[in-house]
Symmetry: C3
Subunit: 245 residues, 3 copies
C-alpha cells in the first residue's frame, strides 16, 4: 500500500516533467524515494525524475512498489491543485490511484506496469564541461532561439558558456561568463540540439531554479534541474543533432 | 420613465446570469425591485434574477414598466465597465436603453417585450435537502467533474453533501461534511444533472459568494446564488437527468 | 558607426508605433535624435516617430546615418525585453544591427534603405481644434466604438470633444467637457475616421500617456502621443473618411 502526502508543487513538477516526453510511465516507490524514468517514442531524449522521501510530508510505503500511471491525466488534474496545497496520494490495490486535495477526491485507474514501455538503462556519459546557471536565464535563451531556428549550439570554453542559433538572416548569441555562472569548470565542449525538445524541458523551470548542464562534443547533454524548492530532481538527457559542416 | 444608477458589478452579474440561458429577456421594473425570468430554448433550466431597489444608488421608476433587452449586447457592453464604477440606466421611451458610465454613453435599441418568449411560471417544488456552501467550492467541484464526464450526481445524506462524476476509467468525488458547510439540514436526496448547464451557472459566482442548494430525488434542483456582495439574487432551477440503473 | 544604449520601453514603443503601419522602415540617426517616418501601403495614414538623443542613456553616432530595418523582426525581439532593461543597439557596418540585453545578443540583418519605400513629405495641415486628453480614455472610447461600427466621428465644439459611432441598432457617444480635458481650445471641427487604423494606433498608449489631437473639418487628423514616460514622440496622421449625408 502507498499512502503519501505531498505539496501540490511536487505533483505539478513531476507530472510536467514526464509529460514533456511520454503520456504513460512507471513510478517506483521504495523506502528512499519516488522515482520514474522514461524515453520518448522517438528515442531522442530520456527523463529521470526523483523525489526523495524527505520531500514528502508523509511517506508511507509498505514495500517497494511499481505503479503504471497515465501521466497526462494526472498532469491535467494537477492544474486544479494549488502549489502550496497538500495532496494525498493513495494506492490500496493495483487498480486505482486516489488523489485527494481540499474537498475533492479523484480516483484514477492505474495502468498495468507491464503494458508500459520498459524503462531505459541510464547511459554512462563522459562529459567534460559542467555549467551551473539560473534556469530562468536558460529558459529565456531557448525561448529567444526558438524564434529564429529549430536547433541551437551549446558551446563551452574558458571564456564561458554560449547558446547560439542561426536564422535565415539573423543570429542570436547567449553568453554567460564565469562571473555570471553559479559554477563553471571551464571545460571545452560543443554540441547541437533540437529546440523542439528543449522547449518542452524548460517548461518545468523558472527563474530561481538551478540548472546544471553537463556538455560534451557532439555527444548527449545532461540537463539537471532542481525544481519545486529543491524537492524534485529532474534530469533530461538529450541526444545531439549532427552539425552539417 | 426609468432612471436608475447602480454599480457596475450589478450590471455584470445580472447580464451574466441571463446570458447563461437566453439572448433576449424581459426586465420588469416595479416599486420594489428589478427582476427578470426566463427559460432556455430547450426548456431544461430556468433563471430568476432579482435586484431589490435598495441595491441601486438611485432608483427612479415612475410606474411599473417592462422592457425587452438584448442581454447579449448589454453583457458585451458590461465587459468594459469596472466593477465599482457607477452606471446610469435610462429608458425615456420604449425604444432605447441608455447606458452611461465614465465619459461613455451607449444607446441600445430595446426589443418589443411581446416579441420575447413569455416568462415561465415558477414551479412549486418540494425539496427535502437544503445545503448552503461557498460558491467557490461548488465552482471548483463542477470544474473538476467537467473534465471527466458530462453529468454529475448531487447527493445529500446525514454524512454531508456529495458531488460525484464518473469518467470512462476515472471517478471524482467532492464531499463536504456538516462542519464545512455553512448550513445543512441533513436531508436525504439524490439527483443527476447535466454539467453543460451547471458550467454556465457557475460563471456568475466566485469564492466568497454564498450558494444555497435545494435538492430532491430525481427532481429539479434549485441553486440560489447571492452575488455582487449580496446586491443581486440569482436562482437557477435545473431539470434532472434520468440515471440509468 | 552607431552605438547607443536605451531602455527597453523605448525600443518597444518605437517598434510598436511603426508596425501599426509598415513592416520595414528607414531609421535616421543624426546628432539630435533618432527618427523615422512611413506611410502605410494604402496611403491612408502616416507615422512619424522621434526619440531625442536625450532619451538615450548613451548616444554615440559618428555621422548622420540611415539604416533599413525589418521592424516586424525587431518588434518581435522587443517582446522579450523588459521595459526597464537597458538595451545596446550597434551598427558597425551596413549589414547588421546588433541588439544586446542581459546575456543575449541578436544580430539582425539590415535592409538596404534604397529598397524601402521613400519617406513621405509631412503635409502642412491647418487644423482648428486642439484637444489634449489622457490617452487611456481615448483608448477606451475607440475600443468601445469598435464593438459596434467600423468608423467613428470625432467632433469638437465649445461644449467639448465627442467620439461617436453608429451601429445597426445601437449608438455610442463618448464625451469629455473642458473640465475633463487636459487642454482644449474649443475649436469647431468634425471628421470621420476608420476604426481599423485607430485600433492599431492606440496599442502604443495607455492610461497616463498624453494624447494631443488636432482636428479639422473632413480633413486629416493629427494624433500626437507622448509615450514611454515622454521619451518617445509618436505622431499619426490619418486621412478622413467621407461621411455619407
Amino acid at each position: 500500500m502507498i499512502d503519501v502526502i505531498v505539496s501540490g508543487d511536487v505533483i505539478k513538477a513531476v507530472t510536467k516533467a514526464m509529460v514533456a516526453l511520454v503520456s504513460e510511465a512507471r513510478f517506483h516507490f521504495d523506502s528512499e524515494n519516488m522515482h520514474s524514468r522514461a524515453v520518448d517514442p522517438a528515442n531522442v531524449a530520456m527523463v529521470i525524475v526523483k523525489v526523495p522521501s524527505s520531500s514528502f510530508e508523509v511517506y508511507k510505503v509498505d514495500e517497494e512498489k511499481v505503479i503504471g500511471v497515465d501521466v497526462n491525466r494526472v498532469f491535467d488534474i494537477s492544474k486544479s491543485i494549488k502549489g502550496g496545497e497538500l495532496v494525498e496520494l493513495k494506492v490500496e490495490d493495483d487498480t486505482t490511484l486516489r488523489i485527494k486535495f481540499g474537498s475533492v477526491q479523484y480516483s484514477v485507474a492505474l495502468i498495468d506496469p507491464s503494458a508500459i514501455r520498459k524503462e531505459p538503462r541510464v547511459p554512462n556519459l563522459e562529459l567534460p564541461a559542467k555549467i551551473v546557471l539560473d534556469a530562468g536565464e536558460f529558459k529565456k535563451a531557448i525561448g529567444a532561439a526558438d524564434k529564429i531556428s529549430d536547433h541551437v549550439v551549446f558551446r563551452s570554453d574558458e571564456t564561458g558558456f554560449y547558446i547560439e542559433a542561426e536564422g535565415d538572416v539573423d543570429h542570436i548569441e547567449f553568453h554567460m561568463g564565469e562571473a555570471e555562472l553559479i559554477e563553471f569548470n571551464r571545460g571545452e565542449a560543443r554540441s547541437m540540439f533540437s529546440i523542439e525538445y528543449l522547449k518542452e524541458f524548460i517548461k518545468i523551470a523558472g527563474s530561481g531554479d538551478v540548472l546544471t548542464i553537463y556538455l560534451g562534443n557532439n555527444y548527449p547533454v545532461r540537463l539537471v534541474f532542481d525544481v519545486a524548492d529543491g524537492k524534485v530532481n529532474v534530469e533530461y538527457i538529450l541526444a545531439p543533432r549532427i552539425e552539417a559542416e
